[in-house]
Symmetry: C2
Subunit: 229 residues, 2 copies
């Protein structure tokens, strides 16, 4: 029994480490999104280039986290909520890697955008970026704390991103129709708004995973209660 | 021993069923991509609407496949290659559901596009769709047959999609610069080409999973060989 407790404690420690690594990965991905949009707004070539070449730390973490998940699944053979948590961690890991890729896509658009005259003062794009970043942060916090209310909040935020995206599209379309010289740079801004929308989609995926983990656990708890009564 | 063989055989049957369901899901997703692009090219409102409302079968399969995966993981506690196969199935299932969503996005763009005069005869977009569909089919075949060469072939196809996307973009940009009346519909064609590129990305994800499953197995075989020699 003492041995079993030690194994369980060790497993819980490994699970905590896994979550800490996912938070670290989320922090890196979020920071890269922030820098790519800062580079776009400030037309800062050096900053843009730093995002374009700086994806090794995320890629390394991606592999490390995947390995941790498979080791935990193979050696610990977890059940129920722990199983769902670890499989979700594999999926969340993929989502965060894609967010890192999208930061590169934003930086690529930023580099092209900086080679044209600016179309307009960028306000809504940084606003979208802010929302997408906090969705990502909240979704990961919800995962770590199994906080279903916070996860639900992330899902609700997605509408804000969607309406900002539509607003940006309409506004840029007006510019393009009035002045063909804005067509190319405006297209890049439209692409950036789509990339930010997809970052929000990844945060939404994470939030949905959290709800899946927690509500499936509740269902099992419920049937366990019936068995014991 | 006979009991253990029966359990193993039963597990293998369940694994085959899981693969069959994933193929079915892939077939549905691919068909929806085909129909959405057909609707776009033929400006067929009825066809477009059928894609917009027809995502229930995929969504049902998505949930069923997820349940199968978690049941297999929890009850069978598979090791090594089987473990990787099932966790990859969870990820592939997500990829296929997203492909279904992208078919809806294409149908939405098609509906808007059909409300304007056509910009041009669409040749490259059906070509992109054809490549994306066959990438998806090949990636799933590679998964089912653990065919690493076929998976590698899928990864190579991705370059074709990328260069078609760039070509489409340049051509449409020319139209937009020449005639502002084409700006709105051309934007929708650009979006469709991006959606098709992302479908290719999902096929690529599946192909990468196949390589991960098979090569991880090879690595383990390799160390087992060393242990036995």
């Amino acid at each position: 029994m003492e041995q079993a407790q030690k194994v369980t404690r060790h497993f819980q420690e490994e699970l905590e480490q896994l979550k800490a690594r996912l938070l670290e990965m989320g922090g890196l991905a979020e920071e890269r999104v922030r820098l790519s949009v800062k580079g776009l707004v400030e037309r800062d070539h050096e900053l843009i280039d730093s995002v374009l070449v700086g994806d090794q730390p995320i890629n390394r973490l991606h592999i490390e986290i995947d390995n941790r998940c498979f080791t935990l699944l193979a050696l610990r053979q977890p059940m129920a909520a722990d199983l769902r948590t670890i499989v979700s961690a594999v999926k969340i890991n993929t989502d965060l890697e894609r967010v890192g890729d999208l930061a590169v896509n934003i930086a690529e658009a930023a580099r092209r955008y900086a080679s044209h005259a600016p179309v307009k003062k960028l306000l809504d794009i940084p606003r979208m970026a802010g929302i997408a970043q906090s969705m990502l942060r909240d979704a990961l916090d919800a995962f770590v704390r199994r906080d279903i209310a916070l996860a639900q909040q992330v899902l609700n935020e997605d509408d804000k991103l969607d309406s900002l995206k539509t607003q940006i599209f309409r506004e840029l379309l007006t510019y393009m129709l009035q002045d063909p010289a804005t067509i190319e740079p405006a297209l890049d801004l439209i692409l950036v708004s789509r990339h930010l929308e997809r970052i929000g989609d990844h945060a939404t995926n994470v939030a949905e995973d959290v709800i899946f983990i927690v509500s499936a656990r509740d269902v099992r708890h419920h049937s366990a209660d019936i068995g014991q009564s």
